[in-house]
């Protein structure tokens, strides 16, 4: 990679890192200031002392001596976790804990193999969320691009007007409600698709059959995510492409006698690619939010569903903190991939020219 590509990428990486750090600080400061971190650490210590009591009880028979030993151990642990200091003095430690997902045990949730550590539970769910999110994003991008470009040559036509209304509706659709409607219609009325979960029970034998089963279950959630994000995206692509097609360099390319498809590809699409990608980048946060809700509706065992499970019933702080951080991390990583693409697409940013991230 040439240095000219490296520099803008580093700038972007730095600003995304700053986002991550800001979120982390926001997390731990609000945890500290509201007393949550204290309770959380207290629970961790309590857990450890309970285990200790059981093991000590075998060697120390005098109950008073046992209490003394436990109290000593408690003071030790509190000092180690910084509970003897004010919350703001514990911040660095908390940041580290959040970053490593060292957030203790979940209250009721377990992983598939029975671990109740927050880190294990969250990481077990991560691939499922990533799967849903990336498939939806790729499909949205594919539809948005082809339909949007096609529309840009028909601005003002009936179909263009229809699509702009459809885009507005698509934007106004709450993802989760759309999911519910699809369940009502396609699962209950027509009985075409499973209404939730990731696998049939029992899951079918064999690799391919399992994969198809998973794909079948993923169909509705992905359809939902695509439905709510594709409208605005088509519209953005259409408007950007239209804007580029009206630029002077396109007129010049035509004047030069370049054939229509070359003009379209090299002088319109190639130029529109970067801002279109920006549109996708801007929609990313929305898709992420949408996936949280859609997973909830379809009982898709990802991080979003876990959020819901950690909120309703007995709230589970450890999980919620861990999830918030992991979602931010997921977002920042996805952003970084798109930013690399962006820098590759638009020579204007390669030389530190102030081409803004947003249009």
């Amino acid at each position: 990679m040439t240095p000219s590509l490296l520099r803008p990428l580093l700038v972007r990486a730095a600003s995304l890192l700053l986002v991550l750090v800001t979120v982390l600080v926001l997390l731990v400061v609000s945890l500290g200031a509201t007393g949550f971190s204290e309770r959380m650490l207290g629970a961790v210590i309590g857990e450890e002392l309970r285990a200790l009591r059981i093991s000590l009880a075998e060697t120390i028979t005098d109950p008073d001596a046992l209490e003394v030993a436990l109290a000593a151990r408690r003071a030790e642990l509190e000092a180690a976790h910084g509970l003897d200091r004010a919350w703001y003095q514990r911040l660095p430690g908390m940041v580290l804990r959040v970053m490593t997902l060292d957030l203790g045990d979940a209250r009721t949730m377990r992983t598939f193999d029975g671990s109740n550590r927050v880190a294990d539970i969250v990481l077990e769910r991560l691939p499922n969320t990533a799967l849903l999110l990336t498939s939806a994003l790729l499909i949205t991008a594919a539809i948005g691009l082809s339909l949007g470009v096609w529309l840009s040559t028909r601005v003002g036509s009936t179909i263009d007007r229809v699509v702009s209304y459809a885009a507005a509706i698509s934007y106004a659709l709450p993802a989760w409600w759309t999911g519910i409607m699809l369940i009502l219609l396609l699962s209950f009325q027509l009985q075409l698709l499973p209404s939730g979960g990731m696998h049939s029970s029992p899951p079918p034998e064999g690799g391919l059959a399992r994969f198809l089963d998973l794909a079948l279950h993923a169909l509705l959630p992905i359809l939902t995510l695509v439905l709510v994000s594709v409208g605005p995206y088509v519209y953005v692509v259409r408007t950007i492409t239209l804007g580029v097609a009206q630029e002077d360099h396109v007129m010049l390319a035509r004047a030069k006698g370049m054939p229509g498809h070359v003009v379209e590809r090299r002088h319109v699409l190639r130029v529109a690619a970067a801002p279109i990608l920006t549109g996708l980048i801007l929609g990313l946060a929305g898709s992420l939010g949408g996936s949280i809700l859609v997973e909830t509706v379809f009982d898709w065992r990802g991080m979003g569903r876990l959020y819901y499970e950690a909120i309703v019933g007995t709230p589970d702080e450890g999980l919620i903190i861990g999830l918030t951080f992991m979602f931010t991390l997921l977002y920042v990583s996805a952003r970084m991939i798109l930013e690399v693409l962006y820098v590759l697409l638009d020579p204007r940013v390669r030389y530190g020219d102030a081409a803004p991230l947003r249009s």
Binding site: Y171, W176, L184, I311, V312, I320, T328
Partner: protein, 474 residues
């Protein structure tokens, strides 16, 4: 661009007009709700099970009767505040209250209850009997009761049922299961299966023997008569009502607690508008101010604002929203505040980029030479150029805020004291309405969210040619 011409262009476009009409409609309905609903609707009414005790649970709207073959009974509440007749009985009085209703469904009502509101007497507690007169001239005695007597330490007048009205569930009463066999034997000379009478008393109460030997519905005008014997003519009987439980209810049906969904949905309207309008106004105000200051003042201020805006603009909002609301509590104002805190940067960056070239424009230079103050220049000579964009953003923020609140409510983080559409849906989802096929519970609230958000989207669409003149038709 002057403001009135923005409005005119908005009204020139079809989506703009549609959006404007919808907005007016929504606003008027909101005003109606605000004027007629109690301010503590959420806590005192919506979340109070006693209010909804008489309603059937999870039943569809009444108009579904028009769709199917079968006619299911409509929920009816008949009140009677005044006696229909008063007969003197020596020093005492016999006051008769009449509560007529019509029954013409294929299945019996789901319940029959009688509720007596405040009663006051001076000496002896009034006594009352409830009799149901049926369309074929027969009648059934349903209850014979007395108002609670005086307690030892109490002084006259004795007031009863002021706080908690007296409610008699007639459909389950022992007297009914005694009266029904008698009715069938005396009036029709048939004996009906004891089991039917006991298991489904309302079927018998609202029915007559059929030719085939069973019981068929007896349709027509019914009258519930309440005869009160009061010892003193000064005794007061304020009001009473009979509830004929339906299997369909109102325009929007009921939820699993028997709540009238129409009431909750209507209440959600001003809340949704409030969220949309407040969140968008605030974030637009903050965003524009920062953008103007950042672009016009420049220097270190600019740098700081841009850095902060850049970070906040790139934060994934929903996870943080969930986290903060979870941590700080589900209050509407807090949700609004957090929404605003995360949504201003986009506009700030946009406004700044528009202000930068304006800073050295002849217009601004001229104003500066004339000695205008910075704030005056910003307000009169810089802001107007950004106004159409700001206005478009103002509209565009609203649906986002409405959807964000709804999403949060759906995750169980809505403000419990204010029922919103999202919360109604969440309740439905959590209690399995989706899987039980209670469409009337989950379709309308979502549809209302979509319509409200769409109203703002249409306005934004109407603004498109104002903001982006290239798209104007030749």
């Amino acid at each position: 661009m002057p403001r009135h011409s923005v409005l005119r262009q908005l009204l020139d476009s079809v989506p703009g007009r549609l959006g404007m009409a919808a907005l007016v409609l929504l606003t008027l309905s909101s005003v109606y709700v605000i004027a007629t609903y109690p301010s503590d609707f959420g806590t005192a009414r919506w979340s109070n099970p006693a209010v909804w005790a008489d309603n059937p649970r999870s039943v569809p709207p009444a108009w579904t009767n028009l769709l199917g073959e079968e006619r299911r009974p409509v929920h009816q509440v008949v009140t009677s505040p005044e006696p229909a007749s008063i007969e003197p009985l020596g020093p005492a009085q016999l006051r008769t209250f009449e509560m007529p209703f019509r029954f013409d469904a294929d299945e019996p009502p789901s319940l029959l209850s009688f509720t007596l509101l405040e009663v006051a007497y001076s000496v002896r507690p009034p006594q009352y009997a409830l009799v149901l007169h049926r369309p074929d001239g027969t009648s059934v005695a349903l209850a014979r009761e007395a108002v609670g007597g005086p307690r030892p330490s109490e002084d006259s007048p004795f007031v009863r049922y002021r706080e908690t009205p007296q409610r008699l569930l007639l459909s389950g009463s022992a007297r009914l299961s005694e009266a029904l066999p008698a009715l069938y034997e005396e009036s029709y000379g048939v004996s009906v299966d004891q089991e039917v009478l006991r298991a489904r008393p309302l079927q018998a109460l609202f029915g007559a023997p059929s030719v085939s030997g069973g019981v068929e519905p007896l349709r027509g005008e019914y009258l519930l008569e309440a005869r009160f014997t009061v010892a003193d003519e000064g005794d007061r009987i304020s009001s009473m009502r009979v509830v004929v439980g339906g299997a369909v209810f109102g325009v929007f049906g009921t939820d699993a607690l028997g709540r009238d969904l129409a009431e909750g949905l209507l209440f959600g309207l001003p809340i949704a508008l409030l969220i949309g309008v407040l969140a968008s106004t605030l974030s637009t105000a903050v965003g524009t101010t920062f953008g103007l200051v950042s672009g016009f003042v420049g220097g270190r201020t600019d740098l700081v604002i841009q850095r902060v805006a850049d970070v906040i603009a790139n934060v994934p909002v929903l996870p943080l929203l969930i986290f903060l609301v979870f941590l700080l509590g589900s209050q509407l104002w807090l949700i609004l505040l957090i929404l605003v805190a995360f949504s201003w940067p986009g506009l700030t960056i946009l406004v700044r980029s528009m202000v930068l070239p304006l800073r050295t424009s002849p217009e601004v230079e001229a104003a500066r030479t004339l000695g205008a103050s910075t704030s005056h220049i910003i307000w009169r000579h810089v802001f107007p150029h950004t106004a159409p964009y700001v206005f478009a953003q103002l509209i565009f923020f609203a649906p986002g805020a409405i959807l964000a609140e709804a999403g949060l409510s759906f995750l169980g983080l809505g403000d419990p004291s204010l029922p919103t559409w999202g919360q109604i849906l969440e309740h439905g989802f959590r209690t399995g309405a989706v899987f039980l096929g209670y469409w009337w519970w989950v379709v309308p609230p979502g549809l209302l969210i979509v319509l409200t958000a769409l109203t703002f989207m249409l306005l934004a669409l109407g603004m498109e040619t104002v903001v982006n003149p290239r798209l104007r038709q030749p």
